[in-house]
Symmetry: C2
């Protein structure tokens, strides 16, 4: 009851603190927002201090700064390391937003803004859960916080940071709120993540845009070539054709498939929620297997030629695409990246020049469900939300999670409070108010239980 009433009493302040963070447009992918990254990091340090941390500091890296904070209860006790990120995704296309992405509003029981969920909303749940447990005298363990500003661009600096600060980051378990539950009815904890590999492809044809009448048919069109190469990466069964791509993919065991089949899944509802008439994916697998335990290939962006109003008959000089593969545990993203580059260069016809630039990447991850911290998180959610969460593997990627295990030797519990409808990475991102406050309660319960 102490937890619930503390949260109730501080509701407004919790939201005010969240909104103050949301208003800082900390888009890591866009150079113009560089100063916002500093502002956001400093704001977090202030909030962490006022939430009860003994100390909080903004630590510089090669890229955006990292916020580090800690609360020492007793050196004999266990230590939890909370990881989060303060950077957000770009907000384009702006015209699809119903309200301004960096002006948070509450409407229909939801907070609407970029970062309302991913990850400002969720990291505020962590911090206010910690504050609640601390202020109510329930905190049993030491807590460290590490908030980075480059998660949405693949965390290029945090590996070096971890390697340089192994002692500082020492902990028994890492706690992360940056994932979603299956649905509001089917609560879940994420026990697996996919890896990621991301590339930009540039196809260069003629040195200038050509008149498609004078040259069409005699000179290869870079867009036609790019489309052909991208089309050939998957076959009609939805499988990726890059030689060696599936070599390290572990086939799902019968037991695991059985577990996945037990997750409630309403295909009609799923299709309606995202507005598609039919689903498509790798032959031989269910939708839930496809989006969590199987790799995928997506063109995230494509552009070339004339894209303005009206029609222009042009044979363009260049064509571009941003493409990515989601990977599953055991697939090494660097190996995949090399396979991809080799493949593209092999299939690139002689009449164009093709450049492949690897962008960020990371490994997948699996969390054992008998971990004490996993058990504590499970029980905490049961208490706060009234229902035991399922253990499920999800399709998203938090590349740093597998790096933590590799570098620091620490397992992570993914205690996420997001929902699919929150539309993270999309226009009109949002977060349910009730999940925000129940999430805080669950984190406070976690600290009460975990010792």
């Amino acid at each position: 009851m102490a937890i619930k009433s503390y949260i109730k009493k501080n509701e407004k302040r919790f939201l005010d603190e969240l909104f103050s963070l949301i208003r800082i447009p900390s888009i890591s992918a866009q150079q113009e927002h560089k100063p916002d990254m500093q502002t956001c990091a400093r704001r977090w340090a202030d909030i962490l201090l006022s939430s009860g941390a003994d100390k909080a500091e903004v630590m510089e890296t090669e890229g955006n700064p990292i916020v580090y904070a800690e609360k020492n209860v007793n050196p004999e006790n266990k230590t939890v390391l909370v990881y989060a990120h303060y950077d957000v995704m770009p907000v384009e296309p702006l015209d699809l937003w119903n309200s301004k992405p960096f002006e948070p509003v509450i409407r229909n029981g939801r907070i609407w803004a970029r970062g309302a969920d991913d990850d400002k909303g969720q990291s505020m749940i962590q911090v206010k859960g910690f504050e609640t447990a601390l202020k109510e005298g329930l905190l049993q363990c030491n807590v460290k916080f590490i908030f980075e500003g480059e998660e949405e661009i693949g965390s290029p600096s945090i590996e070096a940071f971890c390697k340089a600060h192994k002692e500082l980051l020492k902990a028994d378990v890492i706690l992360v709120s940056d994932t979603s539950m299956v649905s509001a009815d089917t609560l879940s904890l994420t026990t697996g993540l996919r890896g990621l590999a991301y590339w930009e492809i540039e196809v260069d044809g003629p040195s200038r845009d050509l008149h498609s009448g004078h040259f069409g048919g005699a000179v290869a069109n870079p867009i036609n070539v790019l489309c052909k190469m991208l089309a050939d990466i998957t076959d009609k069964d939805g499988r990726i054709t890059i030689p060696g791509f599936y070599d390290d993919v572990e086939e799902l065991s019968a037991e695991e498939r059985e577990m996945i089949a037990q997750i409630p899944f309403d295909e009609a509802q799923y299709k309606e929620a995202i507005g598609v008439k039919a689903l498509f994916g790798e032959k031989g697998y269910s939708t839930l297997e496809r989006n969590s335990c199987r790799p995928s290939f997506d063109v995230c962006g494509i552009w070339g030629g004339y894209i303005g109003e009206g029609s222009k008959t042009v044979l363009p000089s260049k064509a571009f695409a941003k493409v990515s593969c989601r990977l599953v545990p055991h697939q090494n993203h660097e190996t995949i990246s090399k396979l991809f580059e080799t493949y593209i260069h092999q299939v690139a016809p002689e009449y164009v020049t093709v450049k492949v630039t690897p962008k960020h990447g990371g490994e997948g991850y699996v969390c054992p469900i008998d971990l004490p911290a996993y058990k504590a998180a499970e029980e905490a959610i049961r208490i706060a939300f009234g229902k035991k969460p399922l253990a499920v593997r999800r399709g998203g990627s938090i590349p740093i999670i597998s790096s933590f295990e590799r570098i620091l030797g620490i397992k992570t519990v993914l205690m996420g409070f997001g929902l699919e409808q929150n539309a993270i990475h999309s226009p009109n991102e949002s977060c349910r108010l009730d999940f925000f406050f129940k999430g805080i309660e669950a984190v406070a319960e976690f600290y009460r239980i975990f010792r």
Copy 2:
């Protein structure tokens, strides 16, 4: 000598008049330039009057106005109808221009500006050639001018205009300067044009952009689907796979292929001029056959998903492309348009919605080389440029040329003074000064000869 000296004397004024037209950004494809179309049409009417027309007027249409002017010499004599267009192509990408597209400059013996060649430069050649012949007392025939403002968007209004003004447009031959010569060394007259069909394709997948981690692999990606459909339109031999597409294509005769083979063509030079390492086109045909007498398929523009800085892991909601086919004589563009639409809808998978919007189109054209006006143009060029032009079929399209034949029953002589290096439709469009003045001389000679 009278012709040459008149031109010499008026060189500066001719350029001033051209520049005054170029400075009006009459881009027909872009709505914001609507007022510029009016301005440009009125400017032309003024120039036509001051060049010696008896009357000139701006006539309204459903779209952009048409400029009509005439000079009556003797109703017993033959009549030439000069067709041109005052609209120009869009200028994007702007950052590739070395000088502002609508601020003409003279550099290295060339005029640099959008419209320097296509078609403001070339239509000024026509008008100043007419003026020269008239002022020097050499004009034997009546001359009518019809300048439209929608050629670059497929001339949607001029057909209705021709049907409504058959009497006004009555003539013995149509003269058009809107084509290119093979090269400065290999002068030519264009005796054939390709037709055109143009479409916009929209592929709609999920109702909003999705997180590629949560949905990738389980939901079809509209860009992947679009790439696949576009890739499949041509096969590895560069042939178009749309059923029925080649039904009306006339195979080249052995004689015609023999003629084409005689046109000087330096493949190494051609590749260097456009900056490609190798050429590609339909198997079994030479480059000059491919770009003039064979149909082609080009993606003129493509866009979808995240195309900003950095990387965004998104499974986009929509993907778009602007695509076109160049057609050859006997292929009906409406038939092809229907075949294309049917094909796309047939191959569109059930998990996306595909819209095909036909844009402009037009038939190909062939000009007989025994036409008296053709003979006059040939001789006029020989005199002005010192070399007899070859008769060649070219790959571009001027859809209205075949419509003139169909509606007005008049053949067209394509007396073009462009060159490939002029980069029409591209950044840094230009026109050689010597060709501009020799062109004026050739047109004046045409009027001296043709009766």
